[in-house]
């Protein structure tokens, strides 16, 4: 099997730096969902190492547009409730965003998050925000400290712009960087959410708990205003993004705006692995500039996801069984446990990734 990657720089220009009591009826009263109160503190904690940020803040502020709804018109879930897997009636092909930590395993359903975009929760004792942007197909986890995040109602590059309720600073989700407000320039601590399906997640984590529809809000969960993932249709299935991209150079590499890539960025670069290609080939690698360095993505068929690592010269080959096992220096490892430095990565629509990271490598 050939593992030769295709790498293309999108743009090489130097550019900008960086009632219920009826007979036979059922009724219930939803608690919570009160309007969010300002939270104290100085805002969310910042990451220790810098994150690739190819746009200056002034440009990003200028490119930020109203998405239609106002601030908090898309309400975050601030008091989420969860149920064990065997108490939830959820189709196997429902999209969920999974977190498996030291002592906590949870699945956040896309059908709920599409109406809220942010859930403020606590995972393994750490206050976090689980976020989802339907227009860019991105699910990302952030530490939030003693504040909570809300939906500003504004978008940049079609991406959710969050705000923290301590300082009202504005944080585009994918960039994980404040572009406006007192915390401008600060970057968030991220954690991985696995974009997968309920059936796969439950199989892998039978002890998982699942976000329920008891959010405190009355919504038509299950009626996705943007389209459908089962099968993929509507906005998710194709066509152009809703708003212009920050940069349109991504079309040169691949003019399929809604194609899913698994994107990773470090301090100085970004790379996108084509997810359908990764499914087919199980291993994708960047060329590393001939130094043996670079990145690789290993396909995990159990969760239908990819894990991204720094290659560091290691020889990695998939085993022949197609079960998501890889040989590294004579030893066999699962896709999610290679003995390499794992890099934070997440699923994204190609237009969103390419729009933000115009000099990204695209590997297919």
């Amino acid at each position: 099997m050939s593992h030769t990657p295709t790498r293309r720089n999108l743009l090489r220009a130097a550019g900008v730096a960086g009632a219920a009591g009826l007979a036979g009826c059922s009724g219930r009263l939803l608690d919570g969902g009160d309007p969010p109160a300002p939270s104290g503190g100085s805002g969310p904690p910042t990451r220790e190492t810098p994150l690739y940020q190819p746009w200056d803040r002034e440009t990003l502020r200028g490119e930020t547009v109203s998405g239609g709804p106002g601030k908090d018109d898309i309400p975050s879930v601030d008091d989420p409730s969860f149920a064990p897997a065997d108490e939830i009636d959820l189709a196997d092909d429902e999209v969920v965003f999974g977190y498996a930590g030291e002592s906590t395993t949870k699945a956040y359903t896309q059908r709920v998050l599409v109406w809220h975009e942010i859930t403020n929760d606590v995972l393994d004792g750490t206050p976090v925000a689980v976020t989802y942007c339907p227009l860019t197909g991105t699910a990302m986890g952030f530490e939030r400290g003693d504040t909570t995040f809300g939906v500003s109602g504004r978008l940049v590059n079609n991406n959710l712009v969050m705000y923290d309720r301590a300082t009202d600073s504005r944080w585009p989700q994918v960039l994980a960087t404040a572009v406006d407000g007192p915390r401008a320039g600060d970057q968030l601590r991220e954690f991985r959410l696995v974009w997968t399906t309920w059936g796969r997640w439950r199989e892998a984590h039978p002890d998982t708990r699942v976000l329920t529809e008891d959010t405190g809000y009355a919504k038509r969960y299950g009626s996705d205003p943007y389209g459908n993932y089962n099968p993929t249709s509507g906005y998710y299935g194709g066509g152009r993004p809703l708003f212009d991209s920050l940069d349109e150079g991504w079309k040169e590499a691949l003019n399929e705006p809604k194609r899913v890539v698994i994107g990773a960025r470090t301090a100085d670069r970004a790379v996108a692995f084509d997810k359908p290609a990764l499914r087919d080939r199980r291993l994708l690698e960047t060329d590393g500039g001939g130094s043996g360095d670079g990145f690789l993505a290993a396909y995990d068929p159990a969760l239908d996801t990819g894990w991204v690592y720094r290659r560091n010269g290691a020889g990695v080959t998939p085993t022949d069984d197609g079960e998501g096992w890889f040989e590294v220096d004579g030893e066999t490892y699962s896709a999610g446990d290679l003995p390499l430095e794992r890099v934070y990565a997440f699923d994204a629509m190609w237009h969103a990734w390419g729009g933000f990271y115009r000099e990204t490598a695209y590997v297919a």
């Binding site: 009632a19 219920a20 009826l22 036979g24 009826c25 059922s26 009724g27 219930r28 009263l29 939803l30 608690d31 919570g32 969902g33 009160d34 309007p35 547009v65 109203s66 998405g67 239609g68 709804p69 018109d73 898309i74 309400p75 149920a83 065997d86 108490e87 939830i88 009636d89 959820l90 189709a91 429902e94 059908r111 109406w115 329920t212 529809e213 405190g216 809000y217 009355a218 919504k219 038509r220 969960y221 299950g222 009626s223 205003p225 943007y226 389209g227 509507g234 906005y235 066509g239 152009r240 993004p241 809703l242 708003f243 212009d244």
Partner: protein
Amino acid sequence: MSREHETAAGRSPAAVVATAVARTRRGLLAALADPVAAAVLVAATAAYALVYAVAVGDLGRAAGGTGTVGGDAGAVSVTVVSAPVTRGLSGEGVALVAVGPVEYLFVPATLAVAVAIGLLVGANLALSALAWRRPAACDISPASGVAAGLPALLSGTACCGPLVFIALGLQATSAALTAIAWLRPAAALLLVASLLWAGWRLDVQSSAADSPGKMLSGM
């Protein structure tokens, strides 16, 4: 014949509007007294509110498979948020009603808009029905009244942004978003204008609501 029955020529705009309002008021009172026209008013209002609810996504097929196992699976379920009055006033949905395969999200603000615009559509159609019912009166096409109510159906829902762009596969722009925000008031203005025009053309003496109406201008 009163001065109202004169043509608009040579009169001030304010006087024309005042006359149109007076004639429209008499026409609507006559329509309410006419069983067919009144039925048209009620049916059109209800139908518009229904279509509006579907258009903005408040009414539709229940997706199912959403609750916890062993949860309510009866033919009817009602879920109400806490503090519904406060939250209803702020524009939020306050209750989700599921009846068999259909569910309805009760958003008081949205329902109020739907009924208001629906009443304007219904009033337009009621005057058309009244004209049709009275041979002495000239026809008033219902088309303009119905057409004027269409823009509001494209205005989308307050929760999810410019869904019409997604539905039509169009690219959204700031200008387009601004235009979308004006669809509902534009529809209301068009409907009021259409209603006044119909009232101007159909002048019905309130004292003779069951007598043939007379066309007094623009014939």
